[in-house]
Subunit: 487 residues, 2 copies
Amino acid sequence: MKTGDAPDTSLELSGDQLRELVELAMKHIAAHIDSLPDQPAWNSNGCSESAALARSVIEPLPEHGQAAEHIIGNLFQRLIPCSYNTASPGYLAYVPGGGLPVAAVADLIADAVNRYVGVWIAAPALAQIEATVIRWFCDLVGYPSQAGGWLTTGGSLANWSAIVTARRCRLPDDFLSATLYTSDQAHHSVTKAAMLAGFPSENVRKIEVDATFRVRVEWMADQIAADRAAGFTPFAIIGHAGTVHTGAVDDLQALADLAARENLWLHVDAAYGGFFMLTDRGRLAMKGIERADSITLDPHKGLFLPYGTGCLVVRDREHLRRAHTLDADYMPSMQDDPEFVDFCQISPELSRDFRGLRVWLPLKLHGIGPFRRNLDEKLDLARWAVDELRKLNGELNTESGDELEIIGEPQLSIVAFRLRRRGLDEPSLTRLNEELRTRINASRRVFLTPTTLHGRYVIRICVLSFRTHHDRMQECLNEIRRQTKLL
Amino acid sequence: MKTGDAPDTSLELSGDQLRELVELAMKHIAAHIDSLPDQPAWNSNGCSESAALARSVIEPLPEHGQAAEHIIGNLFQRLIPCSYNTASPGYLAYVPGGGLPVAAVADLIADAVNRYVGVWIAAPALAQIEATVIRWFCDLVGYPSQAGGWLTTGGSLANWSAIVTARRCRLPDDFLSATLYTSDQAHHSVTKAAMLAGFPSENVRKIEVDATFRVRVEWMADQIAADRAAGFTPFAIIGHAGTVHTGAVDDLQALADLAARENLWLHVDAAYGGFFMLTDRGRLAMKGIERADSITLDPHKGLFLPYGTGCLVVRDREHLRRAHTLDADYMPSMQDDPEFVDFCQISPELSRDFRGLRVWLPLKLHGIGPFRRNLDEKLDLARWAVDELRKLNGELNTESGDELEIIGEPQLSIVAFRLRRRGLDEPSLTRLNEELRTRINASRRVFLTPTTLHGRYVIRICVLSFRTHHDRMQECLNEIRRQTKLL
């Protein structure tokens, strides 16, 4: 590294050298954060420029170091801006989160001190920081004291870990006749998790939903009965607390009743919706979630953390232990005090970064209050957007029969809608709405993405970034109004 | 957060506020890094103090934020120091790495801009940064252009992903008769990975090793034949390029020949040893690794990165795609240009932090030269330590018949040894060496951990931190000399 007189054989930075490098990075980061409200909400469209930019970082492994000014400057000036601006207040696509700045400081610290937290004894208080975070999440969902969990990189590995844990605790070695039950609105990671866990993909039964996009529990019960009669082994139900399509929350009480009746493992994928449990409305919608055997949460969604932080919580920590414990000669001694936990014994990993800090530090510095108020605000904004879309119908062209259709009332913070026009068949409606969405996004003040609901092309507004407030939602609705009238 | 006039409802920090917080963290980080040579190599012994310290971070989720000065000060002054000092130059335990400071800056940037790299189109150049890192690793191990891979959190998930990929590409839905072959020196994550992937644990055959701790390939062949005759389906071999016990490297050419002959998938766990491929000696030891179907590498070991960065590379990227691709209605369009890759299609995750930067930035700023020289230095240091231990034998008490036994010559950078004393049985030798290790560690200038090799308690020196140089190894040998003579 070409800083000062550091010899080329050393990889160490002195405190001052590191400070200098951090200051360089911070110059760009501070400018980036301060300009976020004015940055486009997306800036990447698969054009030849994207490909050329991607190609610009294809090179052989360099033998010699290059100047930090150039590398980091290029990153911020050229490479980062060509992207979906997931940090922008106008990013209303997929499931946003924003990326709390405090979490970046936590990772700076965690990496710099590089402590090992896979085994309690190696860093007791730091392992406990992660355990404390897990306990906060267990409290949030109403889990008892014997609950436990681990921080994953996201919802996909949390869903996978839940299914593997259930499989190892509930099924014999020969588990291939076991069947899983979820809705046709399931996140694709549910099927993927089952496949990776060793289940044939056709063993994942996707049950139809009702008009509110909640799984039809009675139909699920019928399918379970039919499967039992056909020689299958019904084994697990995967409910959703906030589908990624519409934010629909399954009737968790009914699913828990069914799971209890049939002696099945109940997992709830609450990656998107889980942290709304911080609000009164969220708790009401997710009533019964505490009866689930395991729950996926995504702090990088509802706690606004940067990507890379998911979580699995399990109502009985012994289930995780049974699924993951394995001894090895070279490993340090494990905790026998039930008060503490060795994460390598309740999760798939042995090496483990000090990832708890990324969640803990923001919650300690901000307190949970602002998170709760932010989530309440997002629920309000979704409700407000639906009301505005309805009002807009009064202004539309009655001759062509244009009408904005709200696809299900928002159950959390996702609004799904489409423009209907008299006489158009589905393919034409798809083209019309694709055109509408393209025009709305063309402002680059907002970025909306579509989904398909039972064959219908639908536009989604997902408001979940801590940076999105009423002003940007107003801009979003203004753009929808303007483009709908022009179309 | 109680900084300036930021309202309690906001989670945003201005650039200046973030800079202030980073400066506070950097004050502590710089002092931490500069004092590393003088810090104890370990400081955590399961005493009541550790428990009390861990208990001090058990509290309910706080409603209100607290001052950063206090929280971060407490972290550095009280919580972090009570730990195995994995960042210390004297940390010669397990498999060290140290934790490159530049990587911490990379995570600061990655978190702050929070871009999404699971799908190429969402951030083409940033996804390509990860792909470029993967390509560098593929080049390192001698893989062809169609190779691919992904960055995991460590070796455990890389081994798991390799076994799942092999299972999905090579076996039918009913895979329960399939058997896997590895050595009795296998890392415990190999068996754990097989279990998580759905194989009965008894289907993992642990073949004995020879005197150099390399798996006996001919015995493995015999076991494969016996299994075929008994109706099993031999399916995969897991070789080791550097066991965690002694650093032994299996005869990878012979394993590749056997795998080819028997049509088995060959995976090599090179988590510890892989990056020694940067050196001439490492390439010689790992000859044949390029014939493996998949390889686990751990940048947080041999590339000295902070914990949390592992890697799986696969000789044919199509295998990863076949094992992981699944479509979903709400997902953006994927690349059809084979030049580029959508990571969500070749790995288990959908959400994905911008983790490539953590590897890329250190390699760009330092160049690979200093890494190669560091690894060569570690090989030299292990060789030197063995020579010194042998010399020490001339100084020992001949009356009691004391002798330091080198357990296998170091094949990479691990030295395994024990003190033998005439007339002592194994339990007594274990107590003697446990006492010796305790006394060596009591200096806190070094931290050594033991392992068990075929019933023998053995002390390991694993030199792999970029911060460990001759001076600290000299201290280590001085302490061994002093304590061996006193014992």
